[in-house]
């Protein structure tokens, strides 16, 4: 089955998110209060290794499993959306202690009230689609 690899990658992601405690509301609070290195260590290591991996991918024009060149798309150069969208996201991240991935992981872990957070996230996404054309980007 072709899709199985994505399920497996997701399973690894879910386990890492729980075992690193990056899904924890408490850990997110600790991060936003600068009271532990833990979350900075996780994100910092991931980004540092990611930069190295992407550098070599580009440098040696590495190919994906189908032999196609790996192309990393550039994000559009608009600024307002990153600032305002980012701020709004951050407010919700601190309040719920969860970004989109962890919301689903914690439901699997047994925090069923996170379903409410997911419902909120889906309505927020829908609302954005509805008013997108009226917003500055």
């Amino acid at each position: 089955m072709k899709g199985l690899r994505f399920v497996i990658a997701g399973v690894v992601f879910g386990i890492v998110m729980i075992k690193s405690e990056a899904v924890s509301w408490y850990r997110i609070q600790e991060m936003f209060r600068f009271q532990s290195f833990h979350m900075y260590g996780i994100i910092g290591t991931a980004v540092l290794l990611g930069i190295i991996a992407v550098y070599f991918t580009r440098r040696f024009r590495l190919k994906d499993y189908q032999g196609k060149a790996i192309i990393i798309n550039n994000k559009d150069k608009q600024w307002t959306k990153y600032i305002i969208g980012g701020l709004i996201f951050g407010l919700g991240w601190a309040l719920t202690g969860a970004c989109p991935g962890p919301m689903f992981v914690t439901i699997g872990y047994g925090y069923f009230s996170m379903i409410i957070v997911v419902m909120g996230a889906l309505s927020g996404t829908f609302l954005y689609g509805l008013v997108k054309h009226k917003l500055p980007h």
Binding site: G3, F6, V7, K81, G86
Partner: protein, 184 residues
């Protein structure tokens, strides 16, 4: 081995594992970004009929939905096969700050007082809905979340992602330091 995996993982192992997931997805010809799933679910629910933004071919995002399914399964495995019963080691300063806000540290991943099923008050439900909405709205507005911008975007040294991540952080600081004292 299983005993080792059951322990909380150190930050460097976790960070390396996240980078490995991002690289695997690149190798599979995809780009790591979780919040796109929220948009795809809206499309699947038929939002594309009314709102052009959701009028996409969800099949191009099928892989990401499978990743989401895996993430939920990963949570289930972590709660069963890899469960450990040691309390979370939160910094004493955070425990004390939260206590001032009236939030008791109970050693779990999430505060039972806010996320426990028995704690489902109108206030908690409203806060969860609102928080979720901010995350959903903000991630689509900014064109990505922690995975798409902080991990994928920063790894490819993109300035827009750096700005988005600074925004995520500023929003989190405002919520934690200015808004929490008003709502808790």
């Amino acid at each position: 081995m299983l005993e080792l995996l059951k322990q909380p993982w150190p930050w460097y192992t976790s960070g390396a594992a996240i980078a490995a997931i991002m690289v695997s997805l690149l190798y599979f010809g995809k780009s790591f970004g979780f919040s796109a799933n929220l948009s795809t679910i809206c499309s699947l629910a038929g939002a594309g009929k009314r709102v052009p933004f959701f009028d996409i071919d969800w099949k191009t995002q099928q892989w990401n939905l499978l990743f989401l399914l895996g993430a939920v399964l990963g949570g289930v495995i972590a709660a069963t096969l890899l469960k450990n019963n040691h309390p979370l080691q939160l910094s004493a300063a955070t425990v004390s700050d939260l206590k001032t806000l009236g939030i008791r540290f109970d050693g779990q991943l999430e505060p039972t007082q806010l996320f426990g099923i028995q704690a489902l008050s109108i206030k908690n439900t409203a806060l969860m809905l609102l928080g979720g909405m901010l995350v959903g709205f903000g991630s689509r507005y900014a064109g990505g979340c922690t995975s798409g911008h902080a991990i994928s975007g920063l790894s490819s040294l993109q300035l827009p992602s750096l700005i988005a991540v600074i925004g995520f952080f500023a929003g989190g600081l405002i919520m934690t330091h200015l808004i929490f004292p008003l709502i808790f």
